[in-house]
Amino acid sequence: MSEATTFCLIVSAVLFGIGTLGVLPRRSAITILMSIEIMLNAGNLALIAVSRVLPGQGGLGLVDGHVFVLFVLAIAAAEAAVGLAIVLALYRLKRSTDIEVLRLLRW
C-alpha cells in the first residue's frame, strides 16, 4: 500500500496547490470559495490517506483522521453557508460578485 499512500499524498499536495492557485487568478468570489473547498478537500485526502497506514490499536488505521475529516466537512459546509450569504449581501449592494469591485478599503 506504500506507493498508493504516497500517490494519494502527492495528489493531495498537488490538489492543495491547485486550490491555492485557484484563489489567485479568479475574480468571482464564488469561484474563490470553490478553490478553498478544493484546498480543504486536499487536506481531507491527506488525512484519510495517512490514517489508513498509521499504526492504531490492533493493527493499522487510526480513526482520529476520519473524525477530523468529518469535522472539516461540517466546517466547510458552515463556511460555505456564511460565505455565500456574504456574497449574496454583496450582490444585493453592488450587483456583482466580482472581487475587483471591492476597492473601497485599500491603501
Binding site: L9, S12, F16, G19, T20, V23, A29, I32, L33, I36, M39, L40, A42, G43, N44, A46, L47, A49, V50, S51, L54, P55, L62, D64, G65, V67, F68, F71, V72, I75, A78, E79, V82, G83, A85, I86, V87, A89, L90, R92, L93, K94, I99, L102, L104, L105, R106
Partner: protein
C-alpha cells in the same frame, strides 16, 4: 469546591458562553423589541463568562495547576489550566467591553440586528475552546467557531458597502488560511500519528534519529502551514493584508472585539502549540523560532511604517495592531518560563488599550458610518477634554510611554527577547517603537493642537455604556502600568502548568 466538582467544572468556561449564546439566540426573536432587556441579558451573561474562569483560576491552585476533561468519559479534550483560564478571562473582558459598545452602534446603524449579541457569545466560546485544549482538532474547531461568528459580525452592517466588503475580505482570506490550517494539521498528524499536542510532543521527542516518527519533512511542512494559519489570524506580515481593510470596514465594536480577542486567542494557541507541542526537540524548535523571528521582524517594521502613512484612525490602529503582533511574536520566541507570562500580560494590557482606543473611535459616528478620519479628531481637547485625555492615555500606552501599561508590557517583552538571546530583534523592536511614536503623536497633535473643523462642531456625546468602557480601559491601562506585578506575578506560574504530563 470539591475536587470532583472541579473536574466537572473544567469545561465550564466554554460551556457557559456557548450555552448562553445559544439560549440568547433562541430568545432574540422574542425580545427583539425590548432592546434594553436583551442587551441587559447579554451583558449579565458576559459578566458571568468572566466570573466563571476567574473563580476557577482562583481555586485552581488547590487542585494542581491544570485539569482535564472531555466533558465525557475522561478522555482529555478540554484542558483548564492557568493559561487557558487567564485567557478566558481576557476573552470575557473583550466580549464584555465590546457588548457595552454595541447598543450604541446598533441604535445608530441603519438596521437593528441584535443577533450580534449571541454571536459575540459564540465567538467567545470559540476562543475559549481554542485555548482550552491540547488537541489540534479542538483548536481547529474553536478557531472556526470564532471565525465564522466573526465573519458574520463583520458583515452585520450589510447595507454599507464597506461593511460587506470587510466581511467578504475577511471571509475569503480567513477561509483561505483555514485551508492552510487543515492541510498543516493533516501533515502534522501524518508525521506524528497524533492530533494531540502531547502525542505530538512525545513523538517529536522520540523521533530520533529524525524529527518525527513518520516523516521529518512532513512534520516541518505541517508546522510551517500551521504557523502560517495562525500568523494570518494574528496579522503578522506578510499575512496581515486583511487587517486594515477589515478593521476599517467592520463595525467599530466588532473591530475592537476582534483586535483584542482574536489576537489573544491565536497567541494562546501559538503558545501552547509551539511551546508544548513542538519544542521537545531542539531541531524542531529552532526552526520555528527562526521562522517566527523573520516574521516578527517584518511585522514590527512593516506594521509601524504602514501605520505612519494612514489618515484614518481605525486603519492606523489596525496597522498598530499589526505592529503589536510583531512585539508579541517576540515574546513568543522566548523560552516558556520566560516568555509566557509576558505574552499573556501583553495581551491583557493590549486588550484594554486597544478596545479603549476603538471605543473612542466609536464615539465618532455620523449616519451609521465611522467618522474616523484623523481630521475628525482635531480639536478634541477643546470639544471634549475628558475624551481627549482618555484617548491620549490609550495612545501613550500604545506608544509605550511609562507609566502606562503599554510601556510595562513592551518592556517585559523586550527583556524576554534579550533573555532569549535575540538582541537584533530587540533592537528592531526599539527602532520600531521609535517609528511608532510618530504616528500615535499625529493623533495626539490633532487632538490637542489643531482647531476643530467647522462642520464637525456638533457636540460630542459619549453614551454611558461607552463611558463605562472608557473608564474601565483607562483605569486598567494605567493600573497595569503602575502596579503590574499583581498581574504578572500570578501569570508567571503559567509556564509550570503548561508542562505536559509525564
Amino acid at each position: 469546591m470539591d475536587y470532583q466538582l472541579f473536574e466537572i467544572w473544567t469545561a465550564m468556561p466554554t460551556l457557559w458562553p456557548a450555552v448562553y449564546g445559544l439560549l440568547l439566540l433562541l430568545f432574540v426573536p422574542a425580545l427583539r423589541e425590548d432592546r434594553q432587556w436583551l442587551w441587559g441579558f447579554a451583558v449579565a451573561g458576559m459578566v458571568l463568562t468572566i466570573v466563571v474562569p476567574s473563580y476557577m483560576l482562583y481555586h485552581i491552585g488547590s487542585y494542581g495547576d491544570y485539569r482535564e476533561t472531555a466533558g465525557m468519559l475522561g478522555m482529555e479534550m478540554v484542558r483548564a489550566d492557568r493559561l487557558s483560564l487567564s485567557l478566558d478571562i481576557l476573552f470575557g473582558v473583550a466580549g464584555l467591553l465590546a457588548l457595552l459598545l454595541m447598543p450604541v452602534y446598533l441604535d445608530r446603524a441603519r438596521a437593528y440586528r441584535p443577533e450580534v449579541y449571541p454571536l459575540t457569545f459564540l465567538s467567545v466560546a470559540g476562543m475559549t475552546i481554542m485555548v482550552g485544549t491540547d488537541n489540534l482538532m479542538m483548536i481547529f474547531l474553536g478557531l472556526e467557531v470564532l471565525s465564522i461568528s466573526l465573519y458574520v459580525m463583520c458583515g452585520i452592517a450589510r447595507e454599507t458597502p464597506t461593511g460587506i466588503e470587510a466581511a467578504l475580505k475577511y471571509f475569503l482570506l480567513g477561509a483561505f488560511s483555514t485551508g492552510f490550517l487543515v492541510y498543516g494539521v493533516a501533515l502534522l498528524y501524518g508525521a506524528t500519528g497524533s492530533l494531540d499536542l502531547e502525542g505530538i510532543a512525545s513523538a517529536v521527542a522520540l523521533g530520533a534519529p529524525g524529527l518525527a516518527p513518520y516523516g521529518d519533512g512532513m512534520l516541518l511542512a505541517g508546522m510551517a502551514l500551521v504557523i502560517v494559519a495562525f500568523a494570518f489570524k494574528i496579522g503578522a506580515v506578510p499575512f496581515h493584508f486583511w487587517t486594515p481593510d477589515v478593521y476599517q470596514g467592520a463595525p467599530t465594536p466588532v473591530t475592537a472585539f476582534m483586535a483584542a480577542g482574536t489576537k489573544a486567542a491565536a497567541f494562546g494557541v501559538l503558545l501552547r502549540l509551539l511551546h508544548t507541542g513542538l519544542s521537545s526537540s531542539i531541531d524542531v524548535s529552532s526552526r520555528w523560532i527562526l521562522a517566527l523571528s523573520v516574521l516578527a521582524a517584518a511585522t514590527m517594521i512593516i506594521g509601524n511604517v504602514m501605520a505612519l502613512v494612514q489618515d484614518r484612525v481605525k486603519r492606523l490602529l489596525a496597522f498598530s495592531s499589526v505592529a503589536h503582533a510583531g512585539y508579541l511574536l517576540l515574546g513568543l520566541l522566548a523560552p516558556l518560563d520566560v516568555g509566557v507570562a509576558n505574552v499573556v500580560f501583553y495581551l491583557t494590557v493590549y486588550t484594554f488599550m486597544t478596545i479603549g482606543a476603538f471605543a473612542v473611535v466609536s464615539v465618532f459616528q455620523d449616519a451609521g458610518h465611522d467618522a474616523d478620519h484623523i481630521s475628525h479628531f482635531s480639536g478634541l481637547w477643546s470639544r471634549h477634554p475628558v475624551l481627549a485625555v482618555t484617548m491620549a492615555v490609550f495612545l501613550l500606552s500604545l506608544t509605550g510611554i511609562p507609566p502606562m501599561g503599554g510601556f510595562t508590557c513592551k518592556y517585559v517583552i523586550f527583556l524576554s527577547a534579550l533573555r532569549a538571546g535575540h538582541p537584533l530583534l530587540a533592537l528592531i523592536m526599539g527602532i520600531a517603537a521609535v517609528i511608532g511614536a510618530y504616528y500615535y503623536l499625529r493623533v495626539l497633535v490633532a487632538m490637542f493642537f489643531k482647531p476643530p473643523e467647522q462642520e464637525l462642531s456638533a457636540e460630542i456625546v459619549v453614551p454611558s455604556p461607552t463611558r463605562v468602557v472608557l473608564a474601565v480601559s483607562v483605569v486598567a491601562t494605567v493600573l497595569l502600568g503602575i502596579l503590574p506585578s499583581y498581574v504578572l506575578e500570578p501569570l508567571s506560574r503559567i509556564s509550570a502548568s503548561l508542562a505536559m504530563l509525564p
